[in-house]
């Protein structure tokens, strides 16, 4: 991959109390790239994504968005956050708003679109995730998979330069997982820049340009899927993948 670097973390540390969750992570995602992060529970994947999404600051280290050091000087963080989409592990829809209302909110209040324009754009986004018929439903009336797809539409609507996905299917059963993964594959093929924490190996195999293995607050190894899934360098990545692939009956 040789496009412009959209998002980059350099030497990212995060400490909660006396616990070092990130211990100097370097990571970058280029325009059009789909990068997947895998790793055991508690290795700091969600923390890394929240920090890259500017949802909380790192204890140490720098984040560059399109070459700009976001915490240096006084940039308008909200303006940059709007350009970094985020899809969470648990459905995080605004419960008091319909599917359409969820997608419209940022368009109206961040991008300052007129109601009509926001509505049109939001419907377009719901169509992309195959949910235009569910526009008037509240989250409580939607399945987990539908909620996650609304979440994707909500992120997508802002025309972000990159979308971060934090195990968007981890709380879904197999069938619902599929409908979400399918949408994500469509986005990857469209060239949307994505950084995805997931253990859906078929997805990674299909669309990832690179898979990174994370453990104990560090990215231990990054490689294209054909290498990472067959022959990772580090022993820990190897044993982790062996267990993970075992769950898929080998690939």
């Amino acid at each position: 991959m040789s496009g412009e670097i959209i998002l980059e973390g350099k030497g990212l540390w995060k400490r909660y109390g006396s616990l070092d969750v990130l211990k100097g992570v370097d990571i970058s995602v280029r325009k059009g790239e789909t990068k997947v992060i895998i790793g055991p529970s508690g290795s700091g994947k969600s923390t890394l994504l929240r920090i890259l999404g500017l949802l909380e600051p790192p204890t140490k280290g720098e984040i560059y968005f399109r070459g700009e050091n976001v915490y240096a000087g006084n940039l308008n963080l909200n303006r940059i956050r709007a350009k970094i989409g985020f899809v969470f592990q648990e459905p995080s829809l605004f419960r008091h708003l319909t599917a359409l209302g969820n997608v419209k909110l940022g368009l109206k209040h961040v991008l300052k679109m007129k109601d009509e324009e926001a509505e049109k754009k939001a419907m377009e986004m719901l169509r992309l995730v195959h949910l235009e018929e569910w526009a008037d439903h509240y989250p409580a009336q939607l399945s987990g998979g539908q909620q996650q797809r609304v979440g994707i539409a909500r992120a997508l609507a802002m025309d972000p330069d990159i979308i971060l996905f934090d195990e968007p299917t981890a709380s879904l059963d197999i069938e619902l997982t599929w409908e979400v993964i399918e949408v994500m594959e469509e986005l990857a093929r469209k060239g949307i820049t994505m950084l995805v924490v997931t253990h859906e190996i078929p997805f990674a195999k299909e669309v990832a340009d690179e898979i990174c293995f994370m453990e104990e607050g560090l990215i231990k190894e990054c490689a294209p899927p054909e290498i990472m899934l067959r022959n990772p360098k580090t022993p820990r990545a190897r044993s982790f993948l062996k267990r993970l692939l075992g769950a898929y009956g080998g690939i």
Binding site: F86, G106, A155
Partner: protein, 217 residues
């Protein structure tokens, strides 16, 4: 129990009881919302001052607050020379503390992921409070607000000690006039229940229904 004309006499206390309670509720709301904002979203010095307010008004009997307004402040501030105003002020200021407790826990009940999601869209802190937290918090707060209104209606009875002509005062006048102890108070109690129960019950049900509809916790 008591005669119809006596019961009609008791009803003359209703306007005082209701107006004291509702004005106090509105004052409590006007204090409670900003107080909660200060407690949750401002630097520690301000937040701890707001917390102190809550601690004081939660820790002191409302009758004492009422006496303080009437006999204490009344000396210096003319409005509080009125028993009616002192009762409203005491109940209103205390209600501010109670309502702040209700709103604080309701606002904290909005899950963190929703707030992070709102932040990831680029919404400002103020917008997140306005468009995400408050609308859901109001629904969650409804049952608590119902109990608070009921509490105000009941506690407005203390104003009788200052000489306000509320339901309790009218019941007491009947007691003195008829040398009857039980019946006037029972009739008064019935009136209180007729006011507190429907309001508390309605807001409780409305809250549950909306919480179910939106799947709020």
């Amino acid at each position: 129990m008591i005669s119809t004309s006596d019961f009609i006499f008791l009803l003359r206390g209703v306007p005082a009881t209701l107006s004291i309670s509702f004005i106090a509720f509105i004052i409590g709301f006007a204090i409670g919302i900003p107080l909660t904002m200060v407690r949750l979203y401002t630097p520690r010095i301000y937040a701890s001052m707001a917390n102190a307010y809550v601690k004081v008004f939660l820790g002191v009997p409302v009758l004492v607050i009422m006496l303080f307004f009437y006999f204490g402040l009344g000396k210096y501030l003319p409005p509080f020379r009125s028993p009616y105003m002192s009762a409203i002020a005491a109940l209103g200021f205390r209600s501010g503390a109670y309502q702040s407790q209700i709103f604080k826990s309701a606002m904290n009940s909005v899950p963190r992921d929703q707030i992070l999601a709102a932040r990831s869209l680029g919404l400002t802190k103020t917008q997140i409070i306005r468009y995400i937290i408050l609308p859901q918090a109001f629904i969650v707060a409804l049952p608590g607000l119902g109990s608070e209104i009921a509490l105000l209606i009941k506690d407005s009875a203390y104003s009788f000690i200052l000489g306000v002509l509320d339901i309790t005062m009218h019941a007491d006048i009947l007691r003195r006039a008829h040398k009857l102890f039980l019946a006037p108070y029972l009739a008064g109690a019935l009136l209180y229940i007729m006011m507190t129960f429907p309001i508390a019950n309605y807001l409780d049900r409305l809250g549950s229904r909306l919480k179910d509809r939106y799947g709020l916790r």
